[in-house]
Subunit: 185 residues, 2 copies
DNA sequence: ATTGCTTATGCAATAAATTGCATTTGATCA
DNA sequence: TGATCAAATGCAATTTATTGCATAAGCAAT
């Protein structure tokens, strides 16, 4: 399961609790792999079972105890082995495109509104990514190796959002002509 | 469930059997929503239960019988209702990016090989899409409305693959410098 | 005081996806 | 004549994911 390795990957740099990981899945790796806290806790239990990670209970003043999970040597080895295995291209799963695919069933104006909304969502996400790029990855050539790898995944996010934005623009323009015509008639 | 509506969408133009649908999911809508025959048959049973589709048994000479499923009025209405509901941006789920994210754990050369492989996969897919565009969507402005909608979803596929290709190129170049350095040393 | 938020974890039930197997009929090929 | 492939459908078991709920402890604000 990929989630397994996404978690291991997040534990490479430093140990984290289930709660921490849940947060991490909101940023960094979460930009290309989502997981809920339920999935994470279940998976952590399994990983501990396999001894790929080790838990350390941390008593905290105030907060409830937390379990800090640390990548074990076996876990690190498993991760390394997984990384070099070839993988498939990610299958696309996109609701919006299904809707557009049979868009002729509903009002074009309605669809255009939804496209405009998505345009804005993508623009916002792009802005977030560009901000991260500026703040954390200035002069990418000078970064240490590990940061370079993080950087290129961010670049993928940026390009992806730019692509969507461009498509939304193109499509909105293309379909707007359609509305104009039906108003004329 | 989105699969529900993906199937309904495929039945808009003409009735199809489970087997036909499985094929359709390899092309057209399958470019942005995948489904196995198991999922499809199960979902067809449910949809018939709900009366969103109606089956008609077709005796064939030679082949086993097939059940042709036709979209009902209720089904069509349900589809229309779904289309105009706003939806989320598709969450990205990409194994390759997780691997790259912690790429420093393995040999850079190995990673570059995998990136090159993906570059080729994307190139191939792009070629398929471009071919479809040329063959089925010449002069897009002149297409009837329904075809225009199909067309713009193909455009999204094209742009998506182009984006990936560009990222692979950028990344391979960026990381190649790294290998060059380590060879020098 | 009580309401609500954040940190922190998890159970239980349901829903969905995946995987392996199984069947029927004919066509094709060696 | 036996093997295998394509069309066509489906059951059963397992694995994953989702959803709703639950707890516990402190902090902040009204």
């Amino acid at each position: 399961m990929t989630l397994t390795y996404a978690i291991l990957a997040l534990l490479v740099d430093f140990p984290q609790s289930g709660y921490d990981l849940t947060k991490s899945f909101a940023g960094s790796i979460g930009f290309f792999w989502k997981a809920t806290h339920q999935q994470i806790y279940r998976e952590l239990a399994r990983l501990e079972d396999k001894q790929w990670i080790h838990a350390e209970a941390i008593a905290q003043d105030g907060r409830p105890d937390k379990k800090l999970y640390r990548l074990s040597e076996t876990g690190r080895a498993a991760l390394m082995k997984w990384i070099v295995e070839p993988c498939e291209m990610a299958p696309v799963k996109d609701e919006l495109l299904i809707k557009v695919f049979v868009g002729e069933l509903v009002s074009c104006t309605k669809l255009l509104q939804e496209l405009e909304r998505h345009r804005q969502l993508h623009q916002k996400k792009l802005a977030t990514y560009l901000d991260l790029e500026q703040r954390f990855f200035p002069q990418p050539e000078l970064l240490p190796l590990a940061r370079k790898y993080r950087y290129v995944t961010l670049r993928q996010g940026i390009r992806y959002e730019q692509e969507w934005l461009a498509w939304c623009d193109e499509t909105i323009q293309f379909l707007s002509a359609e509305v104009a015509v039906s108003v004329e008639a």
